[in-house]
Symmetry: C2
Subunit: 107 residues, 2 copies
């Protein structure tokens, strides 16, 4: 099992809308995440910084992330959420959510 | 089960030492966490911001946190780690790690 933690910014003027849409994420989007072995997925907010944590239980992380990216429903969802977000300055070219390193883990 | 996410700062001059001590946390400290029903505990770092996530599987969160705080080994550990950290400006009086709200969860 692979643990993934990532950060992205929420645009301050969109905090309320971001939280509202995330209180009722479309079932099709959740189903796609589950199909691609994403589980125990949480997003937390600290000011305008969003922190996500999830566990990946599949065998081919890159392929599963690509399958999500190719899914029309997920793309439609991102058309709603992307304008509410912005990359952190530390994000590399092509990154949207920016992975951050694990310092400690207790199973 | 209760999920807990919190943030604190690591003093920039102590990042390396913080990561080094957290690569080998004392067994007594880990054992105390387990005894008080803290599990799946990770700490991540984004610049000088530390993000922690853990799952609490007990029945009395306040009592278990108090038991950790009263444990001499945990106190000894915090004498090592506290000087490496600093509260975030958003922390309320008496907070060290600062809890942050959950925006989304997929089980």
């Amino acid at each position: 099992m692979k643990r993934v933690a990532q950060v992205i910014r929420v645009r301050p003027e969109h905090v309320e809308a971001y939280e509202e849409v995330h209180s009722a994420v479309w079932p099709s989007v959740l189903e796609r995440l589950r199909q691609q072995h994403v589980t125990n997925y949480s997003i937390y907010r600290h000011g305008d910084l969003l922190f996500s944590y999830f566990e990946y239980t599949g065998e081919d992380y890159e392929a599963d992330m690509a399958a999500i990216a190719a899914d029309p429903e997920s793309q439609r969802w991102w058309k709603v959420t992307d304008p509410m977000q912005d990359r952190v300055p530390e994000a590399a070219d092509g990154q949207w959510w920016h992975p951050i390193p694990e310092v400690f883990h207790l199973p």
